[in-house]
Amino acid sequence: MAQPVPAPASQPGEPLVVLDHVDKHFGALHVLQDVNLTVRRGEVVVVIGPSGSGKSTLCRTINRLETIDSGSITLDGVPLPAEGKALARLRADVGMVFQSFNLFAHRTVLDNVTLGLRKVRRIPGGQAKERAMALLERVGVSSQAAKLPAQLSGGQQQRVAIARALAMEPKVMLFDEPTSALDPEMINEVLDVMTALAGEGMTMVVVTHEMGFARRAADRVVFMDGGRIVEEADPETFFTAPRSERARDFLSKILTH
């Protein structure tokens, strides 16, 4: 598959996703409070934090599955469109992988991957199928192409979901706890695919509790609490010498069990 030439992860490129003074409420709940975040091209940013801290919401604002109340979000220098065709086009450039896979239940694995290629990218059927098969091969589920999602294991479904997102050749991939719904023995097969992707220079925003993945693949760790970004650091610094009390507290809780 023809991937855009990756920028080396060690020297991140220009800003790709920029959140500037982003605020969001759910009713009275202030879920995102003055969030500023820049993700550079080729960078892998891992977002961690306690439950309810706003990680999923942050992730979902980047492809506008959630709207924001104030501030701005730009992708590749362009503010996110509000509605309609322009928004759909933008979303095609942002891959998203959900905790619960969300494969189209009535379509085969292959169709799940080709649907966007045919209907959004307008690629003819044969060519779309070829590309989809190559991607399924890459994530190791090509032998399941003709099955319905429900016939696959969770790990396989999530790898198909990654292939479906990659098919659009997105500028950035968002992962919202991609392994949290998986049985323990399936977590690594998904993390391996993600690690490979990171190594190839894909720009990624990953919400996860998998500290191993964060240490291995992240360029930067963002720690959120109570709707705010409390701390940002490279993984080594963050895990060994967190600056904030709240991050230390959080790490001690998740690392002791």
Binding site: R91, D93, V94, N102, A105
Partner: protein, 216 residues
């Protein structure tokens, strides 16, 4: 029984009228009702408002009133609907589309929200998300209530009898009036012909339901 046999042509023409009324009004109501359902889940508030108003208005108005409105009130405002068959089609499809909308909408709401989110995340537009991902999955749960709506429609065509139509019930009534002693039998004949429409519809519902089932 002679009564039924003797009047078979009258029954048949009434039956065919009812059948045509049901099929044409049903087809229009399915299209309009699905569009209304799409409006009700659309991101545009104006469309949602329009659809809600229409559905609540029609759903809570007796069908007879809808006919009254078209036949007696609308002409006074210069809206002259063609008499007979097409008036009945307009009234029945306007009324039935509100119920189709509710059936389709509850089917749409039964599809996990993650399906639509994933479709939008891939870059599908609202219309594509609905037609390629959500509606195909809603179909399974929508068919049984839809068939019920259509069966109700077949029976509701009898309301057109009161408005100078020549559908099944109107034929039956004429036959009954001409043969007062056998009035019950005449009307039983009407019921029989309705069953010819509604029973196969019910069977069809079962077949379709099995056909569109898929594992989740």
């Amino acid at each position: 029984m002679d009564l039924l046999a003797d009047n078979l042509p009258a029954y048949l023409s009434g039956f065919l009228f009812t059948l045509r009324l049901t099929v044409i009004s049903g087809a229009i109501a399915l299209v309009v009702g699905t569009v209304l359902a799409a409006m009700r889940v659309s991101p545009v508030a104006t469309l949602r408002g329009l659809a809600v108003t229409y559905v609540e208005l029609l759903r809570n108005t007796p069908l007879t009133l809808v006919f009254f409105f078209l036949v007696f009130v609308a002409p006074q405002f210069g809206v002259r609907t063609p008499l007979g068959f097409w008036t009945a089609v307009i009234a029945l499809s306007a009324y039935t589309s509100a119920f189709v909308c509710e059936a389709v909408r509850s089917g749409i709401n039964g599809v996990p929200v993650g399906q639509a989110e994933a479709a939008r995340a891939v870059g599908l537009t609202f219309g594509q998300t609905l037609s390629l991902v959500v509606l195909p999955q809603a179909v399974r749960s929508v068919i049984p209530p839809l068939i019920n709506v259509l069966i109700a429609l077949a029976k509701n065509t009898s309301v057109a009898a009161g408005f100078a139509s020549v559908e099944l019930l109107a034929s039956g009534r004429r036959i009954a009036l001409a043969n007062p002693s056998d009035a019950m039998l005449a009307l039983a004949g009407v019921a029989l012909f309705y069953l010819v429409i509604t029973i196969p519809a019910g069977l069809l519902a079962g077949v379709l339901e099995r056909k569109v089932a898929f594992a989740r």
